[in-house]
Structure formats: C-alpha cells, structure tokens
C-alpha cells in the first residue's frame, strides 16, 4: 500500500468535485429537499414525522452517496484512466482507499448538514444523544459510499450503475422495518432483513431518536463492518488486467 497514491487520489477526486459544483450541490441539497418534503407530507401529523424522519436521515444520504460513488468509479473504468493508473505504482487498495477517503469527507459533510437541518429547521426532536444521531447519519452516508464502490464493478455502463440503485436500495427499504415492523414479517423475510445493512441503520437511528441509546454503538459497529466489507469487495473486484 502506498499512502502517497491514496492521498493523491483523494485530492484528485476532491478537485474534480470542486470543478463540478452542481453535483456537489445535489449531494448536499437532495437529502435536505427530501427531508423538507417529508415534513410537509406529514403536516399536522407531527408524531408520525418524528418517528419516520430519523431513519430517513440515514437512508436519503445513503442512496445519494451510493449513486455518486458507483458512477464515479465506473467512469474511471470506462474512460481509460483506470487502465493508466494500473500501470503506475498504485495498488487496487490504494485507489479504493483514496475514493473512500475523499467521499468519506463528502459523506461527513452531507450527513452533518442533513441532521442539522432536520433538528434546527424541521424541529426534529431527538430524545437520545444528538451526537449519536449525527454520527449514525454520517455512517449511513459512508455505507452508501462503500456499497457504491463495492458494487461498481458489476456494472459495465452508466445505465447499469443507475439501475443498481433501485435493485440494491429498494428491497432493503421494504425489509428494514420502516414499512412493516420486522417482527410482523414472514420468518424468512425477517431472517433476510438481518443480513441487510440498512436494517441496522434504521434501528439505530430510530432508537436514538426515541431516547434509547443502548443499541447505537452496536448499530454503528455493524454499519462500519459492512463498510469495510464493501470496500474490500471494491478493491478485490478491480482488475489490473482486462480483456
């Protein structure tokens, strides 16, 4: 591993984002618009908003980061830049670590801004630790980033990469407990929900908001574990030699 190559890559990705303010605005802005919309949809039903907003505080950024990173990495493969990098002193792990570093910074800003907006502007009432809520929201954005990198190699075109979003996110949304409580699902589905990362994101955020901080650390640990797994998958599925 070369720390130099990792840092150079993170810096280059941030330079690219700086050159693309519209993408940056979408990354930060889309979760805010969605949360604002949620508040309006639940107007007059404050109790329901208070219940549903915290988990979505993680899920919106997760979705956005998933798309952004999977398309960015795909572009690296299709534009020929990856091929050139693979002839240079840079390991596959260096490249993925550079991506993780740059987008972790973006995810941290995104998750922090989204939680701040929900609490200050939308009046989200956090019973438990606000810090734990923000940390979990940020971790979810990081999870989206890591999964985007992990699954990017399955797509060969940008169309496919975009299709992975519903294929990857929507089943988890159905199974995480947001729509139907997990203990009311068929046993097979409940078991399946236990191996999906978003389930833990949902429960951690919902618990913290409701004042039960006992599961927050476990939820954070599981989310971090999924992140590490997805990043390792991303590095292993990059190919130095191609056909």
């Amino acid at each position: 591993m070369s720390r130099r190559a990792t840092l150079a890559t993170a810096r280059r990705l941030l330079e690219q984002l700086r050159r693309d303010p519209r993408t940056l605005a979408l990354i930060i802005g889309v979760p805010l618009v969605l949360l604002g919309l949620l508040k309006l949809v639940f107007q007059g039903r404050e109790h329901e908003f208070q219940q549903i907003a915290p988990p979505l505080l993680g899920i919106f950024p997760l979705t956005v980061m998933f798309l952004v990173t999977s398309v960015t990495m795909l572009r690296e493969r299709t534009s020929g830049t990856l091929e050139r990098l693979m002839t240079m002193p840079m390991s596959r792990g260096d490249l993925v670590a550079g991506y993780a570093l740059a987008f972790a910074l973006v995810a941290a800003v995104q998750g922090t801004v989204a939680s701040g907006f929900a609490i200050v502007v939308l009046g989200l009432d956090v019973q438990g630790s606000t810090l734990a809520l923000v940390a979990l929201a940020v971790l979810n954005a990081e999870l989206g980033m890591a999964c985007g990198l992990g699954l990017s190699s399955l797509a060969t075109t940008e169309f496919q990469a975009v299709q992975f979003m519903p294929a990857f996110i929507l089943p988890q949304l159905l199974l995480c407990g947001l729509i139907v409580p997990r203990d009311q699902m068929a046993p097979g589905l409940e078991a399946l929900s236990k191996i999906l990362p978003m389930t833990y994101a949902y429960e951690g955020l919902a618990d913290v908001a409701a004042g039960d901080g006992s599961g927050a650390a476990a939820a954070a640990a599981v989310t971090l574990g999924f992140c590490a797994l997805a990043l390792a998958l991303g590095a292993l599925t990059l190919r130095r030699r191609t056909a």
Binding site: A8, R12, E15, R19, G80, E83, T87, M88, R240, R241
Partner: protein, 242 residues
C-alpha cells in the same frame, strides 16, 4: 556484445471474445531505440502495447520487459504508458491531470509543470482538458510519461490529430529522449512516421509482417513510397501463404 532487448516477446497469444487477436507474436525491441509499431487500425497495435504494459489478459506466451515479466510491480516506475484515448480527467486542468500522476510517482507540482513545458503546453496548463483540442489532449497525456525516471515509454498513437509542425516537434522530442538513454515504442498508422524510427515493426491482422528499418523497407520492396512499400509487403506475404 549487444545490450539485451528492452522488450522480448515469445509466442504471445491474445484472444478476445472467442477470436484470436494476436495469434502468435515473437518480437524483440532494442534498448535505447525508437521503435515504430506500424499497421492499419485493427491490426492489434493497441492490444500488443497493452500486453507489454501488463494490463491485457493474455492466453499464452511470454512478455519480458526490462528483464522482468510484463506488469511486474517494479516495472510500474520504469515503464510509462500513454493510451490512445489519453486517459485524462476531462473536468480537471492539464496541470491538475499531470500533477495527479506526478504525486503518485512522488514528484512535485514543479516537475508536472516542467513536463507540460516539454510538450509545449505551458500556456494551456490551467485550462480544463475537456476544452483542449485532440492534439493538445494527447500532449497532456504524453507529459505524464515524461515525469519520473521512466526507462521505457509505450506510446499509443501519440501524434494523431497533430499538425505537421507539432508532429515534427514531437518526433524531435522522441529523438532527444532516446539520446538520453530511453527506449520508445511508438504506434502509428501514418507510414511517413516510419522514417523517423530506428526500427519499424509492421503489424497486420495480429501478425508481425516485418521488422526492419525505413531504408530496409524501401530496399526490400524497391519503392520510395512507404505506403506502396507496405502494400507490396502485404501482397508478397499473401502470395507466400497461398
């Protein structure tokens, strides 16, 4: 005694999609030379170059580069590869593109600027690459190969889209690099450029048709026109096959 070849290829086979792209290549490229890889598009030039820099999946044979198997980790500091597409980040400036490659190699921003200067692009250094012409983009990409301490440059069609003056400047640069001790493998489909090479390798349908010099090519085919010489060689090869 001659120095060992910079590149030594024996029995290289590359298949793609069930089709044989390079059926069986044997080739030596002399160290300290400018060798032209010449052939029509689709003849396998890029595939051969990809095999030499170690990013091509090969079906068989051996490719030795600077005494190591192609793609070996130590070669990543010794061999520079410039792809035909240029492999640039369109949204970044020329200086940022080359600066990124420089940082990977542990070099400074000044060295990136110096490389851009060598290819005559100092004035365009801060413009986004996406707004440069094809020829300028190729030169940005080439600047990345002038960083560091590369011993072998593998350049895939570096002179495409350049006007004759720039083309001549680049070939003069290649000569200077060779004189400084580097080995260059340069692909082109412009036969005129064969005359600027120490040695030319003619590739057709994945096979080496001839390894010669421009003068040797003229002598063998009895014509001064290199295009005509290439046609005669092909005809002769086809006749021999029948």
């Amino acid at each position: 005694m001659d120095a060992p070849p910079a590149i030594s290829i024996r029995g290289l086979r590359v298949d793609r999609g069930g089709r044989s792209v390079l059926p069986d290549i044997d080739l030596d490229v002399a160290a300290g030379s400018v060798t032209g890889l010449i052939g029509p598009s689709g003849s396998g030039k890029s595939t051969l170059m990809r095999a030499i820099v170690g990013v091509q999946i090969v079906a068989g044979g051996s490719v030795q580069v600077l005494g190591e198997p192609a793609g070996a980790a130590p070669l990543r500091r010794r061999v520079a590869y410039v792809t035909q597409s240029g492999s640039l980040y369109e949204d970044l400036s020329a200086a940022e593109n080359v600066g990124y490659l420089a940082r990977i190699l542990g070099q400074s921003t000044e060295e990136a600027r110096r490389a851009l200067d060598l290819v005559g692009l100092s004035a365009e250094a801060d413009r986004p690459v996406g707004r440069l012409s094809d020829g300028q983009r190729h030169r940005v990409s080439l600047a990345g190969a002038l960083l560091g301490e590369f011993e072998l440059l593998v350049l895939d069609e570096p002179t495409v889209g350049l006007d004759p003056l720039l083309r001549r400047e680049l070939w003069e640069l290649f000569d200077r690099l060779r004189d400084a001790g580097m080995t260059l493998l340069v692909s082109t489909h412009v036969l005129d450029e064969a005359g600027r090479c120490d040695e030319v390798v003619l590739l057709r349908e994945g096979c080496v048709l001839a390894t010669t010099t421009a003068a040797g090519l003229r002598r063998r085919t009895g014509t001064d026109d290199l295009d005509e010489a290439f046609v005669r060689l092909i005809e002769r090869a086809d006749a021999e096959r029948e």
